[in-house]
């Protein structure tokens, strides 16, 4: 199991498109993926879960990945987050 803390940097937060991108990416890996935020834990492969986080800009999230491809998964997810989900900041 790997854990890592990240910060959401997009100015409008983890809105619809980033959430969708995150869930889509996580779904490609076999490992389980959970996100912890302010005492909540949601399934990172569930779009509804990720949406209920309603993470705004600056929100700190702890990622937890566990499974056979956990390292690859964590790397890919962190890259997506730090690239601001491949979107120009709106």
């Amino acid at each position: 199991m790997i854990k890592k803390k990240i910060t959401i940097e997009n100015s409008s937060g983890l809105h619809a498109r980033p959430s969708a991108a995150l869930v889509k990416l996580a779904g490609k890996f076999e490992s389980d993926f959970y996100i912890y935020s302010y005492g909540y834990r949601v399934n990172g492969k569930s779009i509804l879960g990720v949406m209920t986080l309603a993470a705004e800009q600056g929100a700190e999230l702890e990622l937890e990945v566990e499974g056979p491809d956990e390292e690859k998964a964590m790397e890919a997810i962190c890259e997506l987050v730090s690239s601001k989900f491949g979107m120009e900041d709106e």
Partner: protein, 572 residues
């Protein structure tokens, strides 16, 4: 009216067809406004879980087909999000958990699961997902409708009478193919799409029958008297007997053979063609002696559960229509948007004035090109029979663009060595007043016009024909609409092109009589209307119709015309 027995339960609606049917009620509710918790037995758990999975598959395949067709990034994104919601592992987990551990039925499990997520989203107080809440509610409702109707849909058999809140034309046809003999809808006006199709199929039908799904129970024996606009449940023996006798009498008296003459008494010939949408309607086309298909609607290829979407499947569909008929077949390009879109891609404040018909097709090039390619491919085998009709044209620029697309596809297929009809005529639907008013300018650019009187009326009178509250304002022979038709005929004459009418006006006695007077010689209508219109137009010399048409333009209301027509028809 027949002897009414006081024990019968009568439900009133609006007549949307003729004929009588006696059969067993099947309820199609498709609603989820109030889902009550109902407990299930342990041995039913498996069945309820399977119902969820089946509904999930249906939703996914519907959406995937949609996303393939719509390539613009905005709608594709909305569909992608909806796909993710349906595939969300937490939804399934939660639904299964409620079914297995709380032993509650699948519809309630879905309701509770989605409500939970909706609550959480609302609680998060974030503005980010306000729009998603609406999506979630829509998906929840569609899901519940699917699971609650699954069993009912499967129980449709020979002799069933469908009692529904509202159904789509595609659903209706599939019920018809399963043997349904009548349709009752709580919603919808007599001009609603399903009502029109049921008329075309010759099915007795009533609409706006309030509370029908509540008053009738599944499996009840019911009598549907379409002309009288009533549904009778729990009929007394005497009532049943009198209706059975009427059905028998009707069967004996029916089928007057047509004489094959389509001309006024002084020899002015006219053609009557059929409007159809489904293969199932072909027997009616032949039976009623239609001289071809004046309007082949193609939207059903895109929606519903009998999907024929790929180019090959379209080719097969057009081929069946062509081989099952003789004479011309006018294929209307996909007229989606407005009331006909199966899945709402994005909400518009005024869908009827929005992204529909040619406007949508020119943006969704792949959808358009697939259809054109399919049509051209079929045309090789049926030289000279196919015409292409473009819906919802409002400006000339659209005509230029569609011509370019057609040319492109033609060249492509020719260079691939495919045999095609290189001279497929191109026609415009005249349904927006801007086209009627400048008919000459549009007419110079194309080969024919087809006047769609339903939409022309809607856009002239500013009335949504599907809105029950105002449907009496939908007056398709209002003098203002007739004036636009006359202008269209004049413009077409000047441009040297043919003009036909394919709206309901053509299948209406007053309308058809006036149209003939205006110079229209080709009418396309529900197959079922052909004998009636034929008889009327055969009954007099041309000058009578011309006088009627002239008078119609001088009148000021549709009501005056109705009264005048009555005199005209009985007099002289």
């Amino acid at each position: 009216m027949e002897a009414v027995n006081t024990n019968d339960i009568h439900i009133k609606g609006l007549s949307a067809g003729t004929g009588i049917a006696i059969g067993e009620a099947v309820l199609i509710i498709s609603d989820s406004k109030a889902v009550d918790p109902s407990f299930i037995k342990k041995k039913e758990v498996k069945k309820h879980k399977a119902q969820f999975s089946e509904a999930k598959e249906t939703l996914l395949s519907e959406l995937k087909l949609m996303s393939k067709e719509l390539k613009d990034s905005g709608s594709a994104e909305i569909i992608d999000t909806q796909l993710q919601i349906i595939e969300d592992p937490d939804v399934q987990k939660n639904v299964f958990d409620i079914i297995e551990n709380k032993l509650l039925s699948v519809d309630f499990a879905l309701y509770q699961t989605f409500s939970l997520f909706i609550e959480r989203l609302k609680e998060s107080g974030s503005e980010l997902f306000r729009q998603r809440i609406v999506d979630l509610e829509e998906i929840r409702d569609r899901y519940i409708a699917l699971v609650s109707d699954q069993e009912n849909i499967k129980s449709v058999k020979k002799g069933s009478i469908i009692i529904a809140r509202e159904i789509s034309p595609t659903e209706l046809v599939s019920f018809y193919e399963d043997g349904a003999v009548g349709l009752v809808m709580e919603k919808g006006g007599v001009t609603s799409h399903a009502a029109i199709i049921s008329k075309s199929l010759g099915l007795p039908c009533i609409v706006s029958a309030n509370n029908a799904t509540r008053e009738v129970e599944k499996g009840d024996q019911v009598i549907l008297d379409s002309a009288a606009g009533i549904l009778i449940s729990h009929p007394a023996k005497t009532t049943l007997k009198s209706y059975q006798e009427r059905i028998e009498a009707r069967a004996k008296g029916a089928v007057e053979k047509h004489d094959g003459v389509f001309a006024t008494t002084d020899g002015c010939e006219f053609k009557l063609l059929a409007n159809i949408e489904f293969e199932a309607e072909l027997p009616k086309v032949v039976e009623n002696d239609a001289k071809g298909v004046g309007l082949l609607r193609t939207e059903s290829l895109l929606f519903g559960h009998r999907l024929r979407k790929s180019e090959e499947e379209q080719v097969a569909f057009y081929g069946k229509i062509l081989s099952g008929t003789t004479g011309p077949v006018t294929i209307r390009l996909f007229d989606i948007g407005g009331d006909k879109s199966g899945i709402k891609v994005s909400k518009e404040a005024n869908p009827f004035l929005g992204w529909r018909g040619i406007r949508l097709l020119l943006d969704e090039k792949e959808l358009l090109r697939n259809q054109l390619r399919a049509i051209y491919k079929v045309s090789g085998e049926y030289q000279g029979r196919i015409k292409i009709l473009v819906p919802m044209i409002s400006v000339l620029d659209e005509v230029h663009k569609i011509k370019k697309e057609m040319e492109k596809i033609r060249q492509e297929l020719i260079s691939d060595g495919v045999e095609i009809d290189e001279k497929i005529p191109l026609g415009l639907m005249v349904e927006v007043p801007s086209v009627a008013l400048s008919a000459y300018q549009f007419g110079r650019e194309v080969d024919f016009f087809s006047i769609g009187t339903n939409d022309l009326t809607q856009y002239t009178m500013a009335v949504d024909r599907g809105n029950e509250r105002i449907c009496d304002l939908f007056q398709h022979y209002h003098p203002s609409v007739l004036k636009l038709i006359k202008l269209t005929v004049e413009g077409a004459d000047k441009a040297g092109i043919e003009v036909s009418v394919c709206g309901e006006l053509a299948g209406n006695k007053i309308g058809a009589a006036c149209l003939l007077g205006f110079g229209i010689r080709e009418f396309s209508m529900l197959p079922y209307s052909i004998p009636v219109i034929q008889e009327l137009l055969n009954s007099r010399p041309l000058k009578d119709f011309q006088e009627l048409a002239k008078k119609a333009l001088e009148l000021s209301t549709a009501k005056e015309l109705e009264e005048y027509f009555k005199m005209w028809e009985s007099g002289n």
